[in-house]
Subunit: 376 residues, 5 copies
């Protein structure tokens, strides 16, 4: 199933920079998400070291019975679907109204909320657009309980979590020996690592723009640089709060997260630092590109002006001379009226003077170094 | 009743950036607000879980008897009216002179003041201008006591608090089961959520400007960008201190605010963060727009210069040739005086040379890529 | 008495940005102030709740006897006068040499110094220049002791403290019931509130410049913007440390300042925040103005270039055609030599071709939108 | 052996700004480094005050027996070689999978990780490119244990650590009397001091660019400035986290690092401060250079425009006059048709008028100061 | 003796921005200073309240005997001389190798190092260049012991400390009653106060540049502004760490520094704040100057373009008309061929039309306000 069709994402539109909000004055916990064409798809993976059970197309009520078992239950809700499903989920998982509001009214700024027996983590996932030319951000919410993890994805099934599902199914690594907190780490780590390939694309974009801006700056280049800055702003805004959230978790710990998992979260935190670090460098480069662009345009204009000045400066005096000898003063009424016209060498002399003027001007410009620049 | 007429807000004027102040050296607590044409309208809502009483057009003295009852009394003063009413209010609610000064001399920077048995909160509310093209800021002051909440709005009744009044009247949500602290939250939350639709308008403005600046930059665009930056500054200035105030309340708590309400204030605080976050992104975009504008203007000038240079460079040499053969040297006195004029193919040759020059220059410019840019 | 004449302030000069300093290596406490033409004028106000005594033209020694009385003694030294008076003051008030140095060698950066039994506060007062077009800064130093307050003003009597003197004389407000700490607050508050009207003037200046920069940017505008930025820098530098000083006093308290007065200082602190807040906004606007200026100048140049390009592009080809038919090729030696000259409709055709070229170019420019811009 | 050939570093390519990352969702600890053409070369130096043993071309297993001896064992792995060697190393040194991932997947952001009995330090070494025109960054990882130090260099043997090897071999200084912690300091100090000569090269580059930008700004200069800024960003990014790491070590200490060594690390820390300080200054200068460049280009264009304006303004009116007297009005049909043509002094007068116009314009431009600028 | 000759300081060279460093990998404590032409000159002043002994041209060994006496011994080493003298000094004063390295390898970033019984202070002194047009920085290192102070100056005797020497000799102020800690203060204060006159020169430079940039911006102005920014960066870099050092000393105290001296250091700290404050203001002004410069150049170009446009726009149509009537169409073959040439009022009419066109264009430009600007 294609994510685009479900919400009609227009990839030519700039990434939205507003957050979602309720009508001012509405009751806290109000869900204002519009009902989607595609209903939520609820998948359950129930596992422990020995067992791995996979069920799909569940209703919220069917999930309820798995929550109190000692095995780890991962309930994955793909797509926000309709309001009633979300409200049922809220009842089954006993979610605070404000939590449900944050899960349903997307996009929210990533945040961490601690409700004694539940840890709520709101994150943003960076997905590539179909032709890999940009990215779009999808909210993924985690509700971590004692034996279960609820994840709610803004859009219907896209494949970002598949490597983790495979690790669960095939019992690769240590994931099956661990609890829901490790699963939370594994999924969040997948989300965060997903920013790296996006950054790589932007790194290449910057290099292309650097070349273009110096060689052939056009109005399109300008629009590209501005768009790049805008998208880097959006990326930074999505990853920055996740860094803070990880930092708080590592610094303060949480009863639902085992100490051994904190070490993995530390690695995850390092990755957010690397991502932010790279984004900041890209932002500085993009900002520098704008300066370079302006300078390059000025440079080009300089060349144009030089050409105009050289041609004009050479021919204007010559044309003047030609104009003088095109005057119709009557040579017959006075020996002082344009006697040059009747000289034997008049024309030749005239051309010689013109040539002399032209040559001296050319030498002058050559010395100023203007001629070499133009021919370039 | 229309807010504009009461103070004659001129929506074509830029938003004022000064704060109100007393004449230097005046006695602390002096009220310098000018008497308004429209008197303050005092409304009382007295409620508990079972009861809801609404009274309007009260005098300050009539409010006094409600303050000590166990039910929650919300005294809402709409419009600053005249000085004497304010002073009476001060006596009835036992306000410190400096508090009264802050309530009356608008605008003040939002602030939080703690007077043992009263918590004073000065906020700024963002209202849309009539045609939704901009916003104006209105000071709303809260005085939270044990069983009462006094709110003072700068302008006579506008409808921003109506959803809360409805929730009180219709007993929607949990508001009637809660005390004055929850009411304070509900109203403040309404004020803060009111910044979101304003931001949305500015987000659209930025997108329009982005398009305009790249396609058709004019002096009006420039003025628009500058005005946008100015208004974002004003917005930031209004919301930033409110974030700090919420942070202090959440961090330190307050005897008048119940712990359960702090959780709601936390949500409110998250909203201020989202608003500030968005404002900062808009400010960066607006700042980038100015760079883009300058570059786009340079770009346009470049095109103009190229056209001028191409036309001049092609025709100036040709005109010179025509000028040469317009000279009146006497061909009869010398065979060296412009013999070309008498050649059989003279004119044809002359035109051919001109054509050759023109063509070679056109090819030269085409290779430089100047012709394609101009035709664009 | 006029302040200007006493030190010959030149209001056309930019505000000095250097601080005063002693010759490197000189003994700590050296007074390097030059002797002024106008001697210091020492005034004493000795008051308590019941009594108000005013004496003027005192010598430092005459003040001494009032210092140990239980009533509050305000010794106000107006003008730095000559060195010997200052040294006498130092002896009478038992000032540390470094304190005397800071009082006498103006200007100093505002600072707070704690000498067990004395609290020294160095502030900067913003006064309007005669025509209210700008401001100049005057250092006012406070030495707060147990029962006395010494204030030293850089310049002879200007009227900034008169409202406080009136409140003392007429026993308005609570000032006569309070001690020297409240008097310090009252005077300092007067100084700080004096920045508000100055800011108001700058707010208006910015609005005028905003209009000017978009409509008629000239070199004078540029100089005005630069001057504005410089003066805002000077203002910020004067108020910023005063905010820090108030913050330290409120946070840490001081034995010489009563707790009830701290509340008033908090209000004073809020005012410094408002002032700094406004200055920062003005600085951002002024900085944006520079960008707008550059863009507006580029815009104007663009218009000029367009006019030049339009006129040149239209007439240069026409002139070339006219030039061609002004050539003197001998039509008699060859039927190929400018036969057009002898055609019956030659001239008419020639004009028609010219008209056609001109019209098509005009249509071309009209489509590019260049003509509308020029006519504007 | 040449470092370049081994990974085909292209020194004309800009320095990569991305960090290495695993495919999102892969198992923590996955090594994704590609197998290199050149296998890792493992060298062991085993020393104490009396003994110095050097062995090369070891296998990871051969190193194992040295780790538990009381002498200090420095195992130096040059080049990342193939995956299996790295995995063997991980087993021999008992490395946490995440540590191995950080060592193998280069480049990582420098970081410090504390595993009770091992201290892991990831650093970046700045090496000169062959012609000393730039630098490339190589990751060097330290694993400090009780009696051993494992270093893993990204590239096969380059000579940066040779001075330390010599000090060990020749027993210079106090290095042989110290433990593995001092060795770690000595090597890290060598890495950090290696940034100084790189900075020196950039200092010289900036001075060359400063001269070039003022005298002969070309598009190449622009590209150079942008490249410089990019490379300074890369340098800052490599050294900044190393400063933080040193700061944490000095502030908190570590059981594996003796107190006496902390003093040396403090010196090392001071060097990182000096390096960062210098980079920041260079960055500010480079950023200023861009402004200067733009201004210089504008300046040059100004000169070109002035020349064009001077020549055009002088000759255009003159050409017009010549054009007027080149008109063919029939002087015979009317005494008002160009009678000047038949005047005795007509031509002379005409030339005189032209000369007068030209001279007065030249004087006008000379007064404006335009002529002096052009001749420059 | 002249400081310049000793190290051949070239005052036309920009101030070096690199710090000194040892070859990477060299033994900690290595002295890499080159041997100077001029040997170090060691001076001793041994004093207490009653006694003042001055000795010059001592060897390090001769100083040793004074160190343990109860009087204060100030050993002043002027010039770094040769390596052996420095090493002897290290032995006599029992300096840690890293301290000696910092003293000898100049320049170092100012820093504070605490070796139990010695406090090492590395500072930078700002000296004027001979013609007072700029400054150069000289490292002065302090080693404060119990009864002695060792100062090492980078260059041979310059007179900056003379006022302190005079105060010691003539027993002025309280310096002879104090210990080595007060002497350290007195000297360091002299160094810091030495930045004030340098700043004063830069303040004047900025004012000159402000005038120049608005009136007559040239390429030299541009170079001056860039140089100014560079030098302010160098100044800030020298004073900033000294502020931090003073702050640490005041905050934490030190066993070798008496509490009464801390008060004087506080004054010294205030001076560093004033200096940094002023530098920051200057830096903002210099940065603003660059904007003003660019705007002023654009402004000038605008004027040039306007002149060109006015002249061209007026004369190009006129020349075209003249060109038309210079065409040689044969008026005899057709009545439609330029009949105007044979009209009685033809020429007069033609001139009248030209005049009308010229006048209407002049009026048009006058209305646009272009003419007034040019004449300026």
């Amino acid at each position: 199933m294609n994510a685009d069709s479900s919400r009609g994402i227009d990839f030519h539109q700039p990434i939205p920079l507003n957050y979602s909000y309720n009508r001012p004055g509405s009751i806290p916990g109000t869900i204002t998400t519009i009902d989607r064409a595609v209903p939520s798809e609820i998948t359950l993976i129930d596992y422990n070291q020995d067992r791995h059970q996979y069920a799909t197309n569940l209703t919220p009520e069917e999930c309820a019975e798995h929550l109190d078992t000692s095995s780890v239950s991962w309930v994955d809700v793909c797509g926000l679907g309709d309001r009633s499903t979300l409200e049922k989920l809220g009842r089954v998982f006993n979610l605070h109204p404000l939590v449900l509001e944050n899960i349903a009214n997307v996009p929210q700024r990533p945040k961490l909320e601690d409700y004694q027996d539940q840890l709520v983590i709101i994150t943003q996932m960076a997905n590539f657009t179909p032709q890999n030319q940009g990215f779009w951000l999808e909210q993924v919410s985690f509700v971590l309980g004692k034996n279960y993890l609820l994840t709610v994805q803004e859009e219907p099934q896209t494949d970002c979590f598949d490597p983790v599902r495979d690790r669960l199914r095939l019992n690769r690594g240590i994931i099956r020996q661990q609890r829901a907190d490790y699963l939370t780490y594994a999924l969040w780590d997948t989300i965060i690592d997903g920013y790296f390939p996006v950054l790589e694309v932007y790194g290449e974009k910057i290099e292309l723009l650097e070349e273009e801006v110096l060689k052939q700056p056009t109005a399109t280049t300008l629009a590209e640089i501005h768009r790049l800055r805008r998208e880097l702003l959006a990326l930074r805004r999505a990853i920055w709060p996740q860094r803070d959230m990880l930092n708080i978790l590592i610094r303060d710990g949480h009863p639902l997260i085992d100490k051994s998992v904190l070490h993995y979260l530390k690695d995850c935190y390092d990755h957010t630092i690397q991502i932010i670090d790279t984004i900041e460098v890209y932002r500085e480069l993009a900002s520098g590109l704008m300066d370079v662009y302006l300078s390059a345009v000025s440079n080009k204009m300089n060349e144009v002006m030089k050409l105009l000045a050289v041609i004009s400066t050479i021919f204007i005096p010559l044309s003047f001379i030609a104009g003088v000898y095109g005057m119709n003063f009557n040579t017959e009424v006075s020996p002082w009226n344009m006697p040059e016209l009747d000289w034997y060498w008049g024309y030749t002399l005239c051309l010689a003077v013109m040539l002399a003027i032209a040559l001296s001007l050319i030498i002058y410009f050559w010395r100023l170094g203007w001629l070499s620049n133009i021919s370039k």
